[in-house]
């Protein structure tokens, strides 16, 4: 048996299917590692078990192992764990033609046990160190309370993940049915973000949060992407050009998404001019970072169905962008 059965590592390597990792995937990876610390041995161990006594003849034990298709069992004397007998021990006895000997003669006395209150990561470590297939579990009084195999651990983690997954499904279901479940003549979900001027460090945070929110609400990925790009450009405009930053607002309705930015200056003198591809007022410093290509508003126009700019020099600018949600509505989450 391979000594490298550390579950988290396998998940790390094989759990990352597909081309890019979403935040959700990243959570799942950490979740398996987390679970190996959260789950206790007693939660995954097998409680019902067959036990042998030191006096039992090996042939009898062999029969129990055969009928129950198990490969070993603990040996108890007066309720105390005194050894473990595996198929390997029995093979050993068969080689000597001593199947009628008592268990005590062939059992393994050197015991590696795990505590029922230990996290399963402890058991995983012992499996990996000892190369054993099953380990007896003892409680705080060193009394045998169960057996644990690697299969028990895998099953325990899968059951816990399944539970997590169901919870996420329920959460996503609730979010995506928001517009159906809440009855009103007009339901609007409003998200507001404060954007600081010249805060390039957080540039893009609002747009990525908005994109994620829209996906959770069940928006078509293509629409979430268009909103993400438009909002990103608007967000960066607030960071680069405003005097005191501004407010970014997203209003989601079942049939349309309205995004807007509002700021208090400096305002735009010639709106026609700023709409020209390549026109920019960004400083050299900002342009060196790759901003200020003069394509921001052009990109927004390309991504949204309707764009409006109102501006007064000295007062501020309001940019409104609208995307209409075609077919059905936000409640329908496209598969794939």
């Amino acid at each position: 048996m391979s000594p490298t059965t550390r579950v988290p590592t396998k998940q790390e390597v094989y759990g990352r299917q597909g081309r890019s990792i979403t935040d959700q995937d990243a959570n799942a990876i950490n979740r398996v590692e987390e679970l190996s610390y959260d789950l206790k041995v007693r939660e995954v161990m097998t409680v019902k078990m067959h036990t042998a006594t030191p006096e039992m003849p090996l042939s009898e034990v062999l029969e129990i192992l055969r009928v129950n298709r198990i490969s070993g069992m603990p040996v108890l004397k007066d309720d105390q764990l005194v050894g473990i007998l595996s198929l390997e021990d029995i093979v050993h006895a068969m080689q000597n033609n001593e199947l009628s000997s008592p268990v005590s003669q062939y059992m393994t006395r050197k015991l590696i046990t795990v505590a029922s209150y230990d996290p399963i990561v402890g058991a995983m470590q012992k499996f990996s160190d000892s190369r054993l297939g099953r380990l007896p579990v003892v409680d705080e009084n060193h009394k045998l309370v169960g057996m644990i195999t690697k299969g028990d651990i895998t099953r325990g983690i899968l059951i816990a993940l399944q539970k997590d997954y169901k919870e996420e499904e329920v959460r996503r279901y609730r979010a995506s049915h928001l517009f159906e479940d809440i009855v009103s003549d007009r339901t609007t979900l409003v998200l507001r973000y404060n954007i600081k001027a010249h805060d390039f460090t957080h540039g893009g945070n609002a747009s990525s949060n908005i994109k994620r929110a829209l996906l959770r609400l069940g928006a078509d990925p293509q629409i979430a992407r268009r909103c993400g790009i438009a909002i990103y450009e608007a967000e960066i405009n607030l960071i680069i050009h405003t005097t005191h930053g501004g407010i970014l607002k997203l209003e989601v309705e079942s049939h349309r998404i309205t995004m807007s930015t509002t700021d208090d200056g400096p305002g735009i003198a010639d709106i026609e001019q700023v709409l020209q591809p390549g026109y920019t007022t960004a400083t050299e410093e900002v342009r060196e970072m790759g901003f200020g290509a003069g394509m921001g508003l052009v990109n927004i126009k390309r991504c949204v169905d309707k764009m409006e700019i109102e501006s007064t020099v000295g007062k501020g600018t309001k940019l409104t962008m609208r995307i209409y949600v075609p077919t059905e509505n936000l409640n329908v989450r496209k598969e794939g």
Binding site: V13, Y14, R16, Q17, G18, R19, S20, I21, T22, D23, D25, A26, F200, T201, G203, G204, N205, S207, S208, K211, R225, G228, I229, Y232, E233, I236, M289, G290, F291, A293, G294, M295, G296, V298, N299, R302
Partner: protein, 115 residues
């Protein structure tokens, strides 16, 4: 052509956390240092080749879901950029070669634009 083969053949340095790059198959590529142009031109699962190495490339790459960013001419992103990339699942690769050279090699390797 998967990303691991690209990393090997172009001798790229992986700046972000290691992962199984053989699972990533880029659909094409885009080169520009102007973020708005990238927003307009790069598609999801494209490779983005750029000289920019500051924090904001991560936000752009994450929004567009590009396959990876190849940073050219040994431009060095700072640790905040790398940790943000890890957090957002964006792959950062680095090379001493110039953008033109990287693009040429990628094209030769079959990473082309399918219209």
């Amino acid at each position: 052509m998967n990303l691991q083969e690209i990393i090997d053949r172009l001798n790229l340095t992986v700046l972000t956390d290691p992962r199984d790059f053989t699972l990533i198959q880029p659909d094409g590529g885009y080169s520009s240092d102007l973020l708005s142009c990238v927003m307009a031109g790069a598609k999801s699962n494209y490779l983005w080749v750029t000289l920019q190495a500051h924090l904001n490339i991560v936000a752009v790459a994450a929004l567009l879901e590009v396959a990876a960013i190849i940073i050219t001419e040994n431009a060095q992103p700072d640790s905040a950029t790398i940790s943000k990339a890890n957090e957002q699942g964006v792959i950062l690769l680095s090379t001493a070669a110039q953008t033109y050279e990287v693009d040429g090699k990628l094209w030769e390797m079959g990473i082309q634009i399918h219209k």
